[in-house]
Amino acid sequence: MTDTMRTAVDAGLLSCHSCSLLSREGSGQHAELQCPRCGASLHKRKPNSLARTWALVIAAFICYIPANLLPMTVVTSLGVVQSDTIMSGVIYFLQHGEWPIGLVILLASIVVPLTKLFILIYLLISIQRKSQWRPVERTRLYRITEAIGRWSMTDIYVVTILVALVHLDNLATIEAGVGAIFFGAVVVLTIIAALTFDPREIWDNMESTHD
């Protein structure tokens, strides 16, 4: 093995993001290159990955504020209206001894989105500071953010099912609150942020020392 630690970019190759086929980097750098096998556009790295991920992370943080302050659900029961935010829902479950369910909501709606956002911010900063510290672990952190993001949708689905079921005109109705829209936006933005982030940038800083 002569090419022990060679990357595709070192070898002048582009790896297809979709089907993994390697293509030689053409001379025409500006032309939009396409994978000859599956037709996906080819890039050395995901385009503008740092700027895009930063923008999405900041947008998600901004949406996370109204998502927590505005109600997720509005319950009307016998003329009495009660609004619940994410946190008041969690507290309700914990106080009524339903701690497994309270824990699920706490994890899905608070711990997962915040962990994901903070990990992405840490990874972005570490790349911009050309950190060479523990790249394997940083790549693993990225894998975690990619895997956990979808589970934040739990609370949106809970609201959807409650809205569908509790529909008793004079006794009780449940409506989705404006907070749910912002929370949905947080989930979507963080999923896109994980997709625009390119973990290979973590390793690009390692290679610059070999040259």
């Binding site: 990357t7 089907c19 909501i105 790549t139």
Partner: protein
């Protein structure tokens, strides 16, 4: 070295020789960052096709029969899978309605149909028209198919309401749960490299 024998790690870009797979199921990993380079599955096309067919049947049942019913003081609400989406839309929360509709019904359905479109002809040694484009499209949709998360949502909602009223699970709920198991099994048995190897192209 011929670049057709090489593969680059998707997470750190390191080049590897395309691994040879032996045995029914194996994963080769990047030697630098430990990301999965390739998951090989024996009889991948047969298995994926069988599970996808089962998935289509379960999907139809899950969307046609009663999902959950809610009974309180003689009043009963019957729901199907799509009821929540329609109610959210009528409450003016169309953003969430669309998000839920896409992630739990439309995208899983598109994925099932495209997998059928790809794997059924492949089983009979034919390559369907525009297979590469279709298969690439389902891979792009993958992060947005969230049925398994919806199941957690169902469990939380049931526990929340069970003290307040009577909740009656319907046939669609059971087939929805089975559908999630089937889709997970289909994903675990799918070897996308088998599909890509069937695409003819010019370098």
């Amino acid at each position: 070295m011929n670049i057709k024998n090489l593969i680059a790690c998707h997470e750190c870009d390191l080049l590897h020789r395309i691994p040879r797979h032996e045995g029914p199921r194996c994963v080769s990993r990047c030697r630098r960052c430990n990301a999965a380079l390739h998951r090989g599955v024996e009889n991948s096309i047969d298995r994926t096709l069988a599970l996808t067919l089962a998935g289509v049947v379960l999907f139809v049942v899950a969307n046609s029969f009663p999902f959950l019913a809610f009974k309180l003081q003689g009043q009963e609400t019957q729901t199907t899978l799509i009821t929540g989406v329609i109610d959210l839309y009528h409450q003016g929360k169309w953003e969430i309605a669309i998000l839920v509709l896409l992630t739990t019904i439309v995208i899983p359905l598109i994925q099932l149909l495209i997998h059928l479109y790809v794997f059924l002809p492949l089983k009979f040694n034919r390559v369907p028209w525009k297979m590469a484009t279709a298969f690439r499209f389902t891979q792009t949709l993958q992060p947005w198919s969230m049925m398994e998360v919806f199941l957690i949502g169902i469990i939380v909602a049931i526990v929340k309401l069970v003290g307040m009223a009577q909740i009656i699970p319907g046939l669609a709920l059971w087939s929805f749960a089975l559908l999630i198991v089937t889709l997970a099994a289909a994903a675990a048995n799918m070897d996308s490299q088998v599909v890509w190897n069937r695409v003819e192209y010019q370098q």
